[in-house]
Symmetry: C2
Subunit: 503 residues, 2 copies
């Protein structure tokens, strides 16, 4: 044990030891049951007389904070709320606190708005874009973990390849072939979820101050990752069929972006999937402008209907598209396993940056995930999960058709977790949220998905955390809350109209 | 399965399907045993006629690449090296590859020199600063993992707190109290090893272009992390008692750095621990200049002798010091668990950056580590590990005294894994490395620890990967190799001297 002792100060060393231990026992940092270091050892560690330590320990015992027995040592006692009499604590006067000057990046991301989604546990949670725990194949993962730790624990617990576990990269190669993407284990970097994937690609391809073109509305986590790197997200509006390509062409023509970030499949928040024609046109535009593309295919394994469309990366013959994916949505996020696929040059640079800032990922969990896939557990999970997802999306769609007020619209995604709902103007879904929470339903208000934070009558519903019946109930509640809000608005307008007649 | 089909191209769709599958079977992306999608489903997925897919499958079978049976489906066969007759592959002509413009950060870290340490498996590895696998308590970790996944799997596999698992942060609070550091779980952020800790602190406190004062020699991973963020490491020379404080004062006085990075305990590479007086003087200097300090205490649990000295963070009453630590050295690196302790403002900003670039860490492994500590397994491991470490450091010291050529010096650290050895001039330890490897010993040449890459007659020995006997053997070999090199030098000088007489 080390206690910072000031030998030149006015307070006796004995008192400094008592105060340090007392303060930390009272704050719970030294919890009940903690064994204090033997007197002899602490005295040696601090370079003080044994008697000094013994006196300090006796004082703590007198204060009722510890108890000791010959041959057993000294233990911290459970705190009592009885005030300790007769002793005023003699804490050193704090010096003036140091006020750090934060980086511009830290200032920016600290200022990002976070919505308060906390609610009572009975509310239907339609805000969280993640599968609920009842769908997690925990035991199969546990078996895979035991297997790989037994077989290769020493290797897996050492430092690993900064690109991540090779076996898992090999499995991704095989699985991606089924999506039209031809790659190699050497052209993949595993990341801590797709958030790190996006940050890593942007870090590899953009310098501070550069602009990144992003869809609007879009996943706000991407913009946050870009801003943390000193980049400027520039919005390209999303139409009913995907990104407005004319707007994109104009933006890139003005040299207005160094990178294009896009989610062409099961877009978050809208759930949209762009057509093959849209993808080819987009690729033609970025090829003309020589701008790299970051394709975020975060829910690729979550299709419940419709014909699959090849990812941009599968259509790109030039290596212009860097492809990012994750196990966080189709499986669960707690392993923090995502990946990027890119051209050799991009992957080597991304690997160097990953090494410089993370050294490696944890290959333990990556190896377990590889074993989990090899054992067929991932495919079994996907079959079960997609069945459940289809039931949920179907039920949500029917419920939205029945319960939303007239004039509302909503998307009908072919997969993924989210529906994008637009309520009639002039509802502001952020202002409506507290009311919805009180009524028992939570959603993600549209403003979250606009980089400029503009108010919106749209909202994102996720089917991840609620089964079909809860979805029906939650959506009915949402419809009711929206109707009440609209009625209030109309009432106010009628009153205002009536008043204007009388004035 | 998705195959990118070009309907406007000159190649028939049938041929495009055959070529895609053939290419990926031949490359191993679709390995033997892979079941191809049923004809009906693939036809539907691609929006083509069933007969087109059936024709493609028949052609693959004719080529000997697949086999199919009624009611079983079509499977990829093991590759034979017999050339496939009569078919020339019709791969689409590749378009001109896209050449990405890398970021300045990516360019910088891609250019960092990596030393080739590969060697035959019988060589004594004194280069790797990590414990060898025989010391890893794998079974106890496995038990802890099973325990936490059984008890709290759903929560742990969901997204978690961006600061990391609360239970582990609480354990760190208790353990750090034993080092004189008084903190709270809310003032700790868990990171992916200490590399991410260093990067995160620098990202929080420095803007691109800023200078960071670092010791020289120093751990090169820190400089790499800083450079990845666009920062400039500026060297402060290390004397026999730690950083040259006069040089530090001068540098900070010129406003030459935004942050000071230092390893005051078991410094990497030198193994030095600075005195309490040195620490107080350092704190007085940075307080005067208002510069934040990043203290890297990566081997704190690895003391084998001597009186512990309080970390800078324990002596700092103002919050000027941010403290970073890791489980990678005393336990093992594969969990990727490090941490930072800072003032509330720094920790909140670092958390926002961590969220923006990583969302969360993996709380699965963090929870397992917390359980591992609670169960006493970490303390049991430390006792065993420190005993072994003491034996190794002692043996290394004795061997260095016996085997090094005259004029060599070496440090005598009180803990940690490394010794800093300086051979007589004019030996260049980088140039000597291939010879040492051939003779059966590997070390980290001194140049690695100099930011400017200057040649050096020093080297770092780590006792992490070799038991006492192997250490003795490796150090004897090193001494022999050094003596031969010195002899050759002297021989050349004598020849040169002799020649100069005769000329």
């Amino acid at each position: 044990m080390v206690i910072p002792i000031d030998r030149n100060g006015s307070r006796p060393v004995f008192r400094q030891i008592v105060d340090y231990l007392r303060r930390n026992i009272e704050s719970g940092r030294l919890p009940p049951g903690t064994k204090l270091q033997p007197i002899r050892l602490l005295a040696r560690a601090l370079g003080v007389n044994r008697e000094t330590v013994a006196d300090a320990y006796r004082e703590l015992e007198t204060l009722g904070m510890t108890e000791s027995g010959v041959g057993r040592g000294t233990f911290v006692l459970a705190r009592t709320d009885v005030p300790r009499p007769g002793v005023t604590e003699d804490k050193p006067a704090p010096r003036r606190p140091f006020v750090p000057i934060l980086s511009h990046a830290a200032d920016t991301v600290t200022g990002l708005r976070l919505i308060d989604y906390t609610t009572d546990p009975h509310a239907v949670r339609l805000d969280r874009c993640v599968l609920d725990g009842s769908l997690y194949p925990i035991d199969e993962l546990r078996r895979a973990l035991n297997h790989v730790l037994r077989r290769a624990g020493r290797t897996l617990l050492d430092y690993g390849d900064p690109r991540g576990h090779e076996g898992l990269r090999q499995i991704l190669v095989e699985r991606l072939t089924g999506y039209g993407i031809e790659t190699n284990a050497d052209d993949i970097v595993l990341t801590a979820g797709s958030t790190q994937a996006l940050a890593l690609v942007a870090h590899t391809l953009c310098d501070p101050g550069d602009a990144v073109a992003v869809e609007e509305p879009a996943y706000p986590g991407a913009a946050a990752a870009f801003m943390a790197l000193g980049l400027r997200p520039v919005a390209v509006p999303l139409g009913p069929d995907g990104m407005d390509l004319h707007a994109l062409d104009t933006l890139l023509g003005r040299r207005g972006a160094r990178l294009l970030y896009t989610m062409p499949t099961f877009h978050n928040p809208t759930g949209q999937t762009t057509s093959l024609e849209h993808r080819r046109s987009l690729l033609a535009i970025v090829a003309r402008h020589g701008v790299a593309v970051l394709e975020d295919d975060f829910e690729k394994d979550m299709r419940v209907r419709g014909r699959p469309v090849p990812p941009l990366r599968a259509l790109d013959g030039t290596g212009q598209v860097v492809y990012a994916g994750t196990f966080s949505k189709a499986l669960f996020p707690g392993l923090r396993v995502g990946w990027i696929v890119g051209s050799r040059r991009v992957v080597e640079a991304a690997t160097a940056l990953k090494r410089a800032t993370n050294l490696t990922s944890s290959t333990v969990l990556q190896a377990a995930l590889a074993e989990f896939c090899r054992a067929g557990a991932y495919d079994r999970h996907l079959r079960k999960m997609v069945r459940e997802l289809a039931a949920r999306l179907g039920r949500a769609e029917r419920a939205l058709g029945v319960h939303l007020p007239k004039g509302s619209t909503f998307t009908r995604p072919d997969g993924g977790l989210t529906n994008w709902v637009t309520l009639p103007e002039p509802i502001d879904t952020l202002a409506l949220l507290p009311e919805a929470k009180r009524a028992g339903v939570v959603y993600a208000p549209g403003t979250v998905f606009h980089p400029d934070g503009r108010r919106s009558s749209s909202l994102r519903l996720s089917v991840g955390q609620a089964g079909p019946d809860a979805l029906e109930r939650g959506i009915a509640t949402l419809g009711e809350v929206a109707r009440v809000a609209l009625g209030r608005r109309r009432g106010r307008r009628e009153i205002a109209a009536a008043q204007s007649i009388h004035v």
